[in-house]
């Protein structure tokens, strides 16, 4: 566990700086778009639910909670991608008027 933990802490620390760097300067019109994008990023959490559906880690709810988690993460992913499309579309129209 300690070896894995150490690597994990490295990865987290690097992720921390990457996250700060990527979002250093953003125009306000893109806030909603970035938030929808972050929703899709967080939807990779669905991978975590998969661990509970096999025999790696026992699921007390017989896969019930992980199943719901998969639905929620799927909704975040599908919804996020559709929302991004809508936001980008609105953006183009807004420019077209200009």
């Amino acid at each position: 566990m300690t070896g894995v933990l150490l690597v994990a802490i490295y990865v987290l620390a690097l992720g921390w700086f990457l996250g700060l760097d990527i979002l250093g300067k953003i125009p306000p019109t893109l806030y909603a778009m970035i938030l929808a994008g972050l929703g899709v990023l967080a939807a990779v959490g669905m991978v975590g639910a998969l661990y509970l559906l096999g025999d790696e880690i026992p699921s007390r709810t017989e896969g019930g909670l992980p199943g719901v988690a998969l639905v929620l993460a799927g909704a975040a992913a599908g919804g996020g991608l559709v929302a991004l499309g809508r936001l980008l579309g609105a953006f183009r129209r807004g420019r077209g008027k200009a």
Binding site: A8, L20, K25, A32, L53, G54, G79, G80
Partner: protein, 398 residues
Amino acid sequence: MAQVLRSTVAPLLYLVSAVVFFLGLKALTRVRSARRGRPLIAIGLLFAAAGAILELGTGRLAVFGACAGLGGVVGAIFASRLPAAPSVGRVAWLPGLAGMGSGLVAIELAFAYDLWSLQGAVAAAAAFLGVTSGYVALGLLRKPKDTPSNAVEAALVAACAGWSVALVGLLVSNAILLIVGGVAGTAGLALGRTVAAAAGRSLFGLLFGAVKTGDSGGYDNIRSCGTEEAAMVMESAHNVLIVPGLGMAIAQAQHAVKEVGEQLEKRGAKVRYVVAPSAGCIPGHMNILLDEAGVPHDRLVFVEDAGPFAKEADAVLVIGADDIVNVAAAADPKNPLFGMPALDLSGAGSVFVVKRSLRPGLAGVKNPLFEQSHTTMIFGDAKKVMQALIAELKSSRH
């Protein structure tokens, strides 16, 4: 064979997924590249899922596909009902759902481990963050108004969701969860900080300080943007109107203003400068300054004659002027500005108002133009904004 796939191909898929995710997120942070962000993020998610299925075995593909697919369709339906330009609070449910999902996974993990072990504590923290994310997102659904504190809460929804995912990744030793969760978490926090800074507040101040300070000047429906966005609109405009005022004089921005005009003319735009005799400190102040900067006289239009130009303008750049574009005040007999010549910009395309703050102009009167839907504020010193605009215009030319 299956073993080889698991130990080498799955990590590779994760790596590709992480890189593509970051490129997508990075693309979303710039106006010019935002369109590229969506397919990249979709591909990133696809690779992450493929890697996980490969690593964990295809046995659970059916359940995974059914559950995630169902969720995807439901989410897509709800997202398609969003308004065309939703506020930040209206999309917070997206990361909120992801956070809630991660929280549920963490709850199961907390049961699987001994709660008093390190794993148990991490699982409890992940569950707390995930559920908090979902709960705050739920609360935001009931707040239709887009205040700075709502926007910061929305960003924190993403931050909590991301960190919950990262902690789950720590528990199950999964690289993609750790990396992407960690980045989404910090990115959410960075977004919150940026949103707070745009409102002139600190993150902590917005979350925990109930007292509303800040000089909003009595305005509440203000949109602001950076020079990049303004440059994109202006460079595609055919008719541009520039309206200088006292702010240009104070910042000594006339040379920079002239250069912006020249850059736009190089792109084939017709540029006109609107001068009001009353603008500035002395009569004809704007004429003197623009003359000093070398703006040709045939580009100048007096404010009384500028009406037709305003109607056909695709883009208007108001630089440190306030009262001379305040038609409402000029038409109101009770107003100190009553009867002054003012330029009606309500029929123009996009209006960008460069101003240091929302403090009213010389006459101390609120300007309804700033709240109109086609108006965007660019806050800052006139000279600095013009120089940034010139840099953006130059960088976009090929």
